[in-house]
Assembly symmetry: C2
Homo-oligomer: 430 residues x 2
């Protein structure tokens, strides 16, 4: 394929009218497709339907501690749920506290608590003039929404193919006491599908923060969400790594079963050092009478143990893999060699990230919408919704069927081509 | 019965040694009884076991809005759950937002949000020098724990038999801008079982607070938790009352099904004006991906509607009534006329409140413990755990069996008598 930039104005103009004709044909089909949200499909939800039968009116609802899960009691999670989620997030059972149905809620509460009560005795952040967070970009819009909600200043840190730019992270964290945290999705990152390298994790664990209450917000949302059995990314366990480096309290790990069992009816947890968990439990005892133990029991008994969960994840992979491949195949076939965009072929997670030519992302998303294909809004992967290069687009292939995805991908690549041609033509004729 | 204060020193001394003998006999039984927590009994939990069968792997899990309850979507509650809890708390469906499993958590989050973001645009409380709450006493320890946790100064307001002392409430609320709220359990109050009179509710609705962001925290925890079918307290609906008085935004109502279905696995909600709910939803959209819709569906389908729930509550009453009566009968028989304590015979709720002679509550609770009966710690019903008169004791009769309760009540009245005699003897011989 000849890169578009090497085509003449005439060639580009001819190509453009051909592509426009095809675009209009597709537009006439009145498609209604959505690639905007990392939402499991019905087939994936059906995988966990057995969970609805695990507890019934004949079931013994007493957990391992001997507590009737229907009643009050057990603040921080029943033992069998702790064991399951501890194994899932690769920490000892004593380093985990179980929460409600949403890890986002756990992250929000963690920031909210730091605002009003500080971190392990530090000054409450709401009493400080300035609080800042580092935000590897592109990243997860809901992380950025939380920090923005609390008036925390966000600093973009570029992602590399082995994680955030660690030179920049080290320099900023060690020199600025106002920097209290960094948002990380370390495995199959949202949206790029990048897994932090061993070296990156080690450099995280060795950080020397200026702020005592600096924490790494390690949102391991896709820790066991592989697409392939034979090609899996590996991530070093950060809690142990921090401990080894003499920074045991520097990290909060977040996880949930939202994309394992049911989004909205899963179980979320935080993993951290004993000292951090003591701080968290102190607040929990004021905040709640405890989370839903029946749902914890339902999860623990359905998966039995981490091996059951890993087997379950293979079924998710079988459903998701063809969807990712449907989109990636169209992208590779149609965009390969044209030099109008870059993307990574992820081995897990929920997203594909596309970097268009600078200044083209918004126009591409608007173009796909014209043909009935909804994408995540351009800019959403950056703090304040502002992608300085207007380049990144997040593609979520989980919800539509593979057939729908092929159609949606066709619309997407056509839109990329048309918008890119416009840009190149403009430059060539300027 | 002759009041103890009218007995001579000799009579009291003789009585004391008789009572001590009986106390020692009971002590020798090595009882292990707990009247400390408002915790439903196993028999009550069994009433809702049918709920475990409502959803199974063959069930259609789509709610009235057409959303698959297993997946993401629907931030503020599915329609059928809203209808059920709106009817339960006597508000229009548009005035309710469904939360997770714990109304305490909703109250905590409401205060936390006010601390960091203010109320409908007001200055965040964490930016103010001083924030105060009014606390009708005796009251619910977990309310006081939340306000204490956030460094909010608590001001005691005495309860009367028709609710808080409204002269004091009106004067304080209208004169002090630092007063941002008042904790209320308006029906079958914790711990006294008092229901606010119509006049009290009307005076609440007509408050003219100095602070724009003053809110009434109306924790209607026992709204339908009657003990009798033929003797029920009635409470005016505060949201409508506030609206009529031109104060539509002045109240948050909290409720949950914790003591209807399962503690810890129920559904909680907040009811408030449209403007308040808009403020709350704005934060919710940042905080969570939404609460557990499957559990909402389970509740809505199990109870079907408010009538089903009311029928269900009669079964709870049938279990609870004999327990309350067991304790009250012993108290009336053994303490009636002695003038060493006061109590109210509640028509609903979860507690009996006992006011001992001044300075006796701690000693009584310590005494019952000697004989193996655990009561709520004296002072717990007051802010900072400090009962200025050391007089109030909360009795929770829900968890033990009626037989156990009779025994526990025997220990209790014996302890009251012994401690009271000591006090009176001390006064007479001083």
């Amino acid at each position: 394929m000849t890169p578009y930039k090497d085509l003449s104005v005439e060639e580009l103009t001819t190509l453009k009218s051909e592509l426009e004709k095809r675009f209009d044909e597709i537009k006439a089909q009145n498609l209604k497709l959505d690639m905007s949200r990392g939402k499991p499909s019905k087939a994936q939800l059906d995988l966990s339907m057995g969970m609805m039968d695990v507890l019934n009116s004949d079931t013994d609802l007493v957990c391992e501690e001997g507590v009737d899960c229907r009643n009050y009691g057990v603040l921080d999670g029943i033992r069998e749920a702790k064991q399951l989620l501890a194994d899932m997030t690769e920490v000892p059972i004593d380093n985990i506290v179980i929460f409600g149905n949403s890890s986002l809620n756990v992250m929000y509460d963690t920031i909210a608590r730091s605002m009003t009560h500080g971190v392990m005795g530090s000054t409450p952040w709401c009493k400080l003039d300035k609080v800042k967070f580092l935000c590897p970009v592109p990243g997860y819009d809901r992380h950025f929404a939380i920090t923005e909600h609390f008036g925390i200043e966000m600093i973009n840190v570029p992602m590399t193919d082995e994680g955030p730019d660690m030179d920049m992270v080290e320099e900023l964290v060690s020199s600025d006491e106002a920097i209290k945290g960094i948002w990380c999705v370390p495995k199959y990152s949202n949206p790029q599908g990048i897994t932090y390298s061993d070296r990156t994790v080690q450099r995280f664990a060795r950080l020397k923060p200026a702020a005592k209450d600096f924490r790494i917000y390690w949102d391991n949302a896709y820790g066991i969400h592989h697409l392939y059995e034979d090609k899996q990314d590996h991530l070093i366990e950060i809690l142990m790594e921090c401990k080894k480096e003499g920074n045991p309290d520097m990290v909060y790990k977040f996880c949930s079963t939202s994309k394992i069992s049911f989004p909205g009816s899963g179980v979320a947890a935080i993993a951290a050092s004993t000292a951090n968990l003591a701080d968290i439990r102190k607040q929990m005892s004021i905040q709640t009478i405890g989370h839903d133990k029946l749902n914890q029991l339902r999860h623990a008994r359905f998966y039995k143990d981490i091996h059951g969960m890993v087997e379950h994840m293979k079924k998710h992979a079988d459903i998701l893999r063809p969807k990712f491949e449907a989109v990636l195949d169209v992208m590779e076939r149609e965009l390969g060699g044209l030099e109008i965009g870059n993307w990574i072929r992820p081995r897990g997670g929920y997203f594909i990230s596309f970097d268009a030519l600078e200044g083209c992302a918004k126009a591409i998303v608007a173009k796909t919408k014209e043909a009935g294909v909804v994408m995540t809004g351009a800019g959403a992967t950056f703090p304040y919704g502002k992608d300085p290069k207007d380049s990144n687009i997040r593609i979520a292939p989980s919800f539509p069927t593979p057939e729908e995805l092929s159609k949606a991908a066709d619309v997407f690549v056509l839109s990329v081509k048309l918008v890119s041609i416009d840009k190149i033509l403009k430059e060539k004729t300027a």
